[in-house]
């Protein structure tokens, strides 16, 4: 028996489900099958408890007061930074910047790094499957600086050839900003050769980790990426906080993004000097309770085991693809293999919103729409698609319920 199957055998999903209070919900009297995890994940009780404990016993503002509570709040907040650094393999704690989420992390890099270092005719390389939040910030900075967007295509069948990305990296490429895992196709992008090639031409690489943080074992030092952005709420933590990892030597050369308290050293009306990393990029009162919750979430993930979770999810996605393929008129978007936690599909003659409404009344939550990836929908020539996405607490039974309901739904609309 392979190590892989041993891991999934030992995986106690029922025990894990007990840790997530919301999974006991019964929408419309039906057991909840939450299969919209790429949008956001649910929270284990320990995260909720950690945040309540923080507000009950520790809350104060950080880095300011000299009193008891401020010291404890600061310690909790900075401990969270250490936990994040260790979770993604950052060498130094000051390379971890707390933001509001992936979107703000990318905007920070685009505005600060892009604004300072992009010149007319410089190239920003993206892929056709980027989320809007990894497209629009670059368009904004391109308009300001005269830099140009270049887009790596997919193959006609929706598969991703890393060679296409390597070909697209030129002497003019200054930054490659790509999704580590596609939020629609679930493709795990083989980023290592892209990073290596980009560095050879002197470009930096930003990985949009929104969809990889919960499903792929990320080590930024080993990957050697220059920036890595993710949101807490996609990895079982609270909303309202995210992370930007950046290499210290880059962050030090970048101008501040937001001005305000905590990011300064000395302010006069004539001149302001800035604080050291990471505080230079953390203006204003940070999301302290959220940082505490995020750290607890990451510790929880590691207590289950990232490899075990990935193996479990891989098994669920394989089952999902197998079941969907047997349904007449269902077309799965993108390649069947090499994907993490996400399956998007379209159904001939049935609109995704009708599918999502139908499944919803069965207690099954899936996503329907363009998934904030309109250029990718245009590539496939469809206005929208349906998406099933799993997490550590998902089960094969939930996948089966979804595919049974989908069959019924198709019969209704296309008898």
């Amino acid at each position: 028996m392979s190590l892989h199957s041993l891991q999934t055998l030992a995986y106690d999903v029922e025990r894990i489900r007990q840790d997530f209070p919301i999974l006991a919900m019964r929408p419309y009297g039906k057991p909840l099958a939450y299969l919209d995890n790429a949008a956001t994940t649910q929270k284990p009780r320990c995260v909720l408890d950690a945040m309540t404990h923080y507000y009950t016993h520790l809350h104060s503002n950080v880095h300011r007061g000299v009193h008891f509570l401020s010291e404890h709040a600061t310690a909790a907040y900075e401990h969270a930074r250490d936990v994040v650094a260790s979770f993604i393999g950052a060498r130094r704690r000051e390379e971890i910047i707390f933001t509001r989420g992936t979107t703000e992390s990318i905007n920070l890099v685009a505005a600060s790094w892009g604004g300072a270092f992009l010149r007319p005719e410089d190239e920003i390389l993206l892929t056709v499957f980027e989320h809007h939040s990894n497209i629009v910030p670059w368009q904004l900075v391109a308009q300001r600086t005269g830099a140009r967007l270049q887009v790596v295509p997919l193959e006609p069948d929706g598969s991703f050839f890393v060679e296409r990305a390597l070909e697209a990296i030129t002497e003019r490429t200054r930054i490659v900003a790509i999704a580590h895992v596609s939020n629609v196709l679930g493709i795990v992008v083989p980023v290592a050769p892209i990073i290596e090639h980009a560095h050879r031409v002197g470009a930096v690489v930003l990985l949009d980790g929104a969809q990889s943080i919960a499903h792929v074992n990320v080590d930024v030092t080993e990957l050697d990426c220059d920036f890595y952005a993710f949101s807490s709420h996609k990895v079982y933590g609270p909303t309202g906080i995210g992370v930007l990892y950046g290499k210290a030597e880059l962050l030090e050369r970048m101008p501040p993004y937001h001005g305000g308290g905590d990011m300064i050293r000395r302010v006069t009306f004539e001149r302001t000097t800035y604080n050291d990393l990471p505080y230079k990029f953390e203006a204003g009162t940070p999301p302290i309770a959220e940082a505490v919750g995020l750290a607890r979430a990451l510790e929880y993930v590691d207590s289950i085991g990232r490899d075990a979770i990935a193996a479990w999810e891989e098994r669920l996605i394989a089952a999902c693809i197998e079941q969907l393929e047997q349904i007449d008129g269902v077309q799965i978007l993108g390649p069947k293999r090499g994907r993490a936690a996400v399956v998007s599909f379209s159904v001939e003659g049935v609109h995704p919103h009708d599918i999502a409404t139908f499944l919803d009344r069965e207690g099954i939550a899936i996503r329907a729409g363009h998934h904030c990836a309109q250029p990718l929908m245009d590539f496939f020539g469809i206005p929208a698609s349906s998406r099933i996405s799993v997490a550590m607490y998902s089960t094969e039974e939930e996948i089966e319920r979804a595919s049974t309901a989908l069959r019924k739904c198709i019969t209704l609309f296309r008898p």
Partner: protein, 153 residues
């Protein structure tokens, strides 16, 4: 798996019929009014054409585009309801329908006033889907106001 009452109300046979075989689907060669409607939330898109004669009567109404069963059936039923009506009457139908479809699910329905459009009111139980039903109607208002693109979110 039995359909819930709400789902059965939403996807009534008339709706499914208009979804599968929409009436007045296609381009209108000579039109006097035209507008596009777009729902950025789901990507649904509709183009509406009207031919209004000198007496101010809607002689023909057609639509194209892609959308869910609700928006397609709504466009189909709307074009049927518009033909032969004056512009003034079209505004009145819009107002009556819009008021009814955005009302509380428990609010009484004046079926005589709404006619066939009454089948679309099942959407009241599905707040996230009301926009699907109203998209063609906002496009109608846009077309009558002089054209262009309207978006609903």
């Amino acid at each position: 798996m039995e359909l819930s009452d709400e789902l059965r109300q939403l996807y009534q046979e008339v709706i499914l019929d208009h979804h599968r075989a929409p009436r007045n689907y296609g381009n209108l060669e000579s039109y006097t009014h035209q507008a596009e409607g777009y729902n950025p939330l789901c990507g649904d898109q509709i183009e509406l054409f009207l031919r209004v004669n000198d007496a101010g009567i809607i002689e023909d109404a057609r639509f194209t585009g892609q959308g869910c069963a609700i928006s397609r059936a709504s466009a189909s039923l709307m074009t049927e309801a518009l033909k032969g009506k004056s512009i003034e009457e079209a505004h009145t139908i819009f107002e009556r329908f819009h008021h009814a479809v955005t009302s509380d699910p428990t609010a009484p329905i004046d079926a005589d006033m709404l006619g066939k459009l009454v089948v679309l009111l099942g959407v009241r139980e599905f707040p996230t889907r009301v926009k699907c039903a109203t998209l063609p109607w906002h496009t109608l208002e846009q077309a009558l106001a002089g054209g262009g693109t309207t978006t609903t979110e």
